[in-house]
Symmetry: C2
Subunit: 345 residues, 2 copies
């Protein structure tokens, strides 16, 4: 059992050191797959729960207690800092983030002011409380990357093709870069507050960056993601950088300043190693839908991921995307056991 | 101007020969971006229009007349052969294909009987009429690939994560392979009828195969796609194989029996060349959202695609996915002119 952060397998793997076992956590581990989560969220709106310290602490702890994962990720949503500075948005069940007035003009940029500690006081209080309660289990802080946050602000809601976002990019690149500059400042400030309150690592979620070609990613997204990661560069915490469908972008996502590059299930980890280049650890990458299969299939597929992960500078086991709400939580607990039983030597 | 099929730049590029100019056509060129299409479809349900010979002919011709593209693709939908054998499905505006009773059990496989010429008589009549009317412009026939069609049959509607589809794959591989075997027989029969009626090339749309890892693609999808392509192997027409987000699958999609591999906008064509291997032409791959940008941006991006396409054994210019309904059709006409003006030497 881990008793201090200095022995954390998660932090060791992130840093390319040799962990006692392959560490594992799951994106969206704190969430609707757990009955105890559904019970505690009963009648509480998503964004209300994100701004309620006790709920954030309890929900963050639930998967740590149940599954024995090697890291906690604080319960929140990538739109929380935008809500905190007053953007009129909500998370609508079955839809996702919905912005009342999509941002399409320069005049609208003014509402994207800097994030002050008071804006997110209950959130940061939860981070501080959690680092005490978690003991030797590291807490991962996180933020949404500028491109992904911009896609919500510009489209006004989740999109399949990001048409308005890409149109702004190509039609008015100056407005685009100013918008992403504002968002990157806010995201960087938010990450910094989380680390200063005790988070041991950060993950930058550029969930939808995979919609961009590599050339567009390098021109329109990467400089702003790099600015967010740079905002915590002096704080000595591992920085994880993740997106879905980013096979072509893995090298650039590493270059943006990541210590760990998250990989979805489409690129085998032993191939991803070549794309991210030397000195960077990998996180991933079991297809989350595999968890609907019988235990022997899950174990076989997990072992394949683990075998492929040996090629990496360090390997943090995870799914290739978030846990689906309909997944049997026992399948997750069994998966943690499979990963922990894997012999590294 | 092309006057006979033997001089077709499209067919030359597909075969790796030297065309007079880079050929161009657009996925979904016959469709909602055109006012003349919206007018003729007024009050006619999508599937009804697909089974009405005169409408299929007229709608197929519209973009050829307007844009001067180098190939026509017959107006239809990938679910047409399933509808034709009696599967209870409809195409719902704003949603996509909706199947009344999703296929999840062996007993349901019986409804997937072979496709007979009578089932699609008005469709094949349209293909025959078109090849006369088109003269020297080739007609592309098409079918949906087994994985993509299965995803609609199993999910019952468009899906973001294909959870039921992947669950069947991993939980009951025998049922899965039997289902895809049935679908591949039907798709192969449909393609064969189109070519025998005069289509000069075929495209197999595995639109959603990019949701699979390479290992799962090879095990669960590729053998069935190969069977479809094999069904027209003796007919001496170029076979195009396309999907979205297939960066990791391009080699396997070529191996499945394609002469031309379609590439979405995520992988530059000069990189795709290495993934598909020698002797195969490429089709693609301008990001369709680029068409919302000003003409000079579209031209710049199109020229980048054309420059990258020079590395290919043959290059058919296209978008990386279908034309969006909101695109200004004049932007498409201008894009055809840019491609045709490009100097190959």
């Amino acid at each position: 059992m881990t008793t201090t952060l200095s022995e954390s397998p998660f932090l060791a793997a992130c840093r390319g050191q040799t962990p006692a076992h392959v560490p594992v956590w799951f994106m969206r581990q704190a969430g609707r797959s757990l009955p105890e989560y559904r019970a505690i969220r009963e009648g509480v709106a998503m964004l209300d729960s994100c701004f309620t310290t006790d709920l954030v602490v309890e929900i963050t702890m639930q998967p740590v207690r149940r599954h024995g994962v090697d890291a906690a990720i604080f319960f929140s949503d990538i739109v929380v800092p935008l809500k905190a500075i007053g953007v009129d948005l909500d998370i609508v069940a079955g839809v996702g983030p919905v912005v009342a007035e999509p941002i399409r003009t320069r005049a609208q940029l003014d509402q994207l002011r800097d994030l002050e500690p008071d804006d997110v006081a209950p959130v940061i209080a939860a981070v501080a409380a959690l680092t005490g309660e978690l003991g030797g289990t590291p807490l991962i802080g996180f933020a949404g990357a500028p491109f992904t946050l911009a896609s919500y602000l510009v489209e006004g809601r989740p999109s399949r093709d990001y048409r308005n976002t890409k149109a702004m990019m190509h039609t008015d690149p100056e407005l685009w870069h100013d918008l992403l500059g504002r968002i990157s400042a806010i995201a960087g400030q938010f990450l910094r507050m989380q680390v200063q309150a005790g988070a041991s690592a950060v993950q930058l979620f550029d969930s939808w960056a995979g919609a961009l070609s590599l050339a567009d990613y390098r021109t329109f997204a990467m400089p702003h993601s790099a600015a967010v990661l740079e905002a915590v560069a002096d704080l000595d915490v591992p920085r994880i950088h993740f997106g879905v469908g980013t096979g072509e972008l893995l090298g650039a996502m590493g270059e943006a300043g990541a210590d760990v590059v998250g990989v979805d299930w489409r690129v085998p980890l032993d191939e991803a190693v070549h794309r991210v280049g030397p000195g960077k650890a990998l996180q991933g990458n079991l297809d989350p839908t595999t968890l609907f299969a019988p235990p022997e299939v899950v174990e076989r597929e997990a072992r394949r991921v683990l075998d492929q992960g040996r090629a990496a500078h360090g390997h943090v086991f995870n799914l290739g995307h978030g846990v689906m709400p309909e997944i049997d939580p026992d399948a997750l607990t069994r998966l943690v056991d499979v990963v922990h039983a894997y012999e590294l030597d």
